[in-house]
């Protein structure tokens, strides 16, 4: 049962991390164009060097 003292905080922390990541993505407009982004990943435009 002592394991719980570690496991519960760990699970809460992981959940919290997920939530923070989600809120970050939302703030940075990662959900503006889901369809476009799924196509953009197939483009070869900036394969050789990063977009300036």
């Amino acid at each position: 049962m002592e394991m719980l003292a570690i496991l519960i905080p760990v699970s809460l922390l992981l959940g919290g991390l997920g939530l923070v990541a989600f809120l970050w993505a939302l703030k940075h407009r990662q959900y503006e164009d889901p369809e476009g982004d799924s196509h953009r990943i197939l483009k070869k435009d900036w394969d050789d060097r990063p977009k300036p």
Binding site: M1, L4, I8, S11, L12, G15, G16, G18, L19, F22, L23, L26, Y31, E32, D33, P34, E35, G36, H39, R40, L42, K43, D45
Partner: protein
């Protein structure tokens, strides 16, 4: 975040800097503001093509395609106009429309949507964590462990509910203030009751806490609400923001000086100048100049009408060839344009408000839920005298009956259906349009601009002598008249090289003339070139030798028009063509497309009256039209569609906007709408079936948090999956 941005001012201590920065920022926003709608974009290649083409234009700093909304945002220098961009895109085969960035900025940042999504996300993460703890309780955690888990759940659930439940609490409060019982009242009641009873149980070391149920309820309801919001926002963002065609300004002539003034400032008796290509801002009488005017948007006539001194013109008509000076006879609210708008307002108020399936459901559902919870509470209190037990049972009843699946039933289907229709080029503007579209049994079409493209094309060019064609090409190339432009495009495509014609000049209102060798050549109106007028739309060429020749024109049917009519008829719909144009072209188009029921020479009132008559006979009419003369008919029909190229007023009056050129998916759209309606009904049945099983269990007091969670998630998930089955 803004506080970290480098200051635009060189002096960091400068207090005046924020003002300067604000101005700089305002400018940056201002010239970033070109947004175009791209109805045909659909793939990675489209994204690259469009972005590369636009970025290559001078003055364009960046272009970014949003494929979800099918639009491109362009940051460009102020001198770059939307027309330049639209022209460039047309060159590579992408039709585009300008969107009004001023109105768009509201949806672009999309605060409300992100807010809902954030609450949804928080509810989702809280739900997962609480479920994790609940599984332990369900599988038999005892005493101190169970209490600990309940306490942790409470610590997560209460703040989550306070944050994520806000949309429901706010709307329930508003509806209570208006003395109504919406869906949100039972929802809020369930959330509050469940969390307070669970908190009490946790204090008392009880067995059952409903934190997991309350949070997952909140999550599923928010999901439904977000979907609903998304489909509405997508419609609003494009349909309302296609830029208005109505001219807001006019050129007033006073003492020989021209000033540009807002239309509202014009008074009867003022003189107004209208340049070729411009739209008449007011009703008036021509006092100077000759030209031809295009009345097709108002009346549906395809043939341009001659206008000279003394001719009366109406607001909304387009001046084609020569500058005109008008004396204003009616401005503002008195113009025929506005009288037409009034006709629309009357028709719209006459349209009985359609109650959606969801509303009808909610109206019947919420009183039942409240009564049932109250009844179970009082019965248990009477039978056992145990207040704690009675409240527990009532809370379980509220949680289980809570319209979780019901709240998802409609939005899930509507989102999936309008997404499908959007990919086919249809934009649903009104939430209930899908349901109404499903009921349609009669389809009424307008001709010009709807079944046809509204642009003339010369016929049988091959039948003319090459020499004549070369002269025609030279003359037509010098004019911006639509018939001339049609000839010169068609001849250029056929590879005809224009002849050498000297001294070309355009005679406004009549045509173009020039000298070919030693002969005068003319292209224009019949009486001017000395020809006998032929039937239908035509222009005439006199080459100085032999009789003048007529170039006949036809208005090309919109792509897919034939297929759409055939498919509608195959689906057993009655198809009717009502046009304001003259009999000959209407009859020709009707027989080409296979429409038996047609009428020509219809005035706007006639069209609206015909639709009212059909409605009176019990028909559910779908009106498809684009002109001002259609607006009253569009507003009085059961459901209406207009192409994106339609006049603003027509688009506003219609429920669905057709973004692409192709009409073919029309029959498909009706089929999808029908299917969506069936799915919505199935979803209602499904969620009611779950309630039928779970509610008796709750009423007899056997419901545990596990049963509540199971019933809720399975019904929500089945309902969403059922919506996705839409083909």
């Amino acid at each position: 975040m803004t506080s970290l941005a480098p200051s635009a001012s060189a002096c960091p201590a400068c207090v005046a800097a924020p003002a300067a920065e604000r101005i700089a920022e305002a400018r940056a926003v201002k010239d970033a503001g070109l947004v175009l709608s791209l109805p045909t974009a659909h793939c990675a290649v489209c994204i690259s093509d469009v972005e590369r083409t636009l970025s290559a234009l001078p003055g364009v700093r960046s272009a970014r395609v949003n494929l979800t909304l099918k639009r491109v945002s362009v940051a460009a220098a102020p001198e770059v106009t939307a027309e330049d961009l639209i022209g460039a895109l047309k060159g590579i085969g992408y039709p585009a429309h300008e969107l009004d960035p001023g109105l768009l900025s509201v949806t672009e940042t999309d605060k409300a949507g992100r807010d809902l999504l954030m609450r949804l996300g928080v509810a989702g993460f809280a739900m997962m964590n609480i479920m994790l703890l609940s599984v332990a309780v369900w599988s038999g955690a005892e005493a101190a462990t169970r209490d600990l888990f309940h306490w942790i759940s409470a610590a997560i659930a209460l703040p989550t509910l306070a944050f994520s439940g806000q949309p429901f609490f706010a709307s329930a409060f508003a509806s209570l203030k208006a003395r109504r019982l919406g869906m949100d009242v039972p929802i809020s009641l369930a959330l509050i009751l469940a969390s307070s009873i669970s908190l009490y149980e946790t204090f008392a070391g009880g067995h059952h806490a409903y934190f997991d149920a309350a949070v997952s309820l909140c999550f599923f309801l928010l999901a439904g609400r977000y979907l609903d919001y998304r489909s509405r926002a997508a419609a609003r963002s494009a349909a309302e923001e296609l830029t208005a065609l109505e001219v807001p300004r006019a050129t007033r002539v006073r003492d020989g000086a021209e000033t540009v003034v807002p239309i509202a400032e014009l008074a009867v008796g003022d003189l107004v100048r209208v340049r070729p290509g411009g739209r008449m801002p007011v009703d008036g009488v021509v006092t100077e100049g000759t030209s031809e005017i295009d009345r097709s948007l108002l009346t549906g006539e395809t043939l341009p009408v001659w206008a000279g001194e003394g001719s009366a013109v109406s607001a909304g008509e387009v001046n084609l060839t020569g500058p005109l000076t008008l004396r204003v006879t009616a401005a503002g609210r008195d113009t025929s344009l506005h009288r037409m708008a009034d006709l629309v307002a009357v028709a719209e108020s006459a349209r009985t408000r359609y109650t959606s399936l969801a509303d009808r459901m909610a109206r019947a559902y919420s009183p039942v839920v409240h009564l049932m919870a109250l009844a179970s509470f009082s019965t248990w209190l009477y039978l056992t005298g145990d207040l704690r037990l009675a409240v527990n049972v009532a809370a379980a009843v509220l949680i289980i009956t809570c319209p979780c699946a019901l709240a998802l039933a409609v939005p899930a289907v509507v989102t999936s259906a309008s997404g499908k229709l959007f990919r086919k080029g249809f934009l649903i503007k009104d939430g209930t349009a899908l349901e109404r579209l499903a009921e349609v049994d009669t389809v009424v079409f307008d001709k010009t601009g709807t079944l046809t493209l509204g642009a003339p094309e010369p016929v049988d060019l091959a039948a003319y002598p090459r020499a004549d064609l070369e002269i025609a090409a030279a003359l037509a190339g010098a004019s911006a008249h639509p018939l001339s432009r049609a000839i010169s495009t068609a001849l250029a495509e056929a590879g005809v090289v224009p002849a050498r014609v000297a001294d070309i000049r355009e005679v406004p209102g009549y045509g173009v003339e020039g000298r070919h060798g030693d002969r005068m050549v003319r292209l224009g109106r019949a009486e001017w070139v000395g020809a006998t007028p032929a039937d239908g739309t035509a222009t005439y060429l006199s080459t100085g030798e032999g009789a003048a020749r007529a170039f006949g024109f036809t208005d090309r049917p919109r792509p897919g028009a034939g297929a759409a009519v055939a498919a509608l008829k195959a689906a057993g719909k009655r198809v009717i063509l009502l046009s304001g144009d003259t009999e000959a072209p209407v009859a020709r188009l009707a027989s080409d497309l296979g429409i038996e029921d047609w009428q020509a020479g219809q005035r706007p009132e006639d069209k609206a009256a015909r639709i009212s008559a059909l409605t009176g006979e019990g028909a559910r009419v779908l009106m498809v039209g684009d002109g001002l003369n259609d607006t009253a008919a569009l507003a009085s029909a059961h459901v209406s569609i207009s192409p994106a190229s339609a006049l603003d007023a027509a688009r506003v009056a219609s429920d669905i906007v057709l973004l692409g050129q192709d009409l073919a998916p029309l029959a498909d759209a009706i089929r999808i709408a029908k299917q969506a309606r069936i799915r919505i009904k199935q979803n209602f049945a499904l969620s009611l079936a779950y309630n039928l099983v779970a509610v008796p269990v709750a009423l007899v007091g056997l419901a545990t948090p596990l049963i509540a969670a199971l019933a809720m998630s399975t019904s929500s998930v089945t309902v969403s999956l059922n919506a996705l089955r839409l083909k």
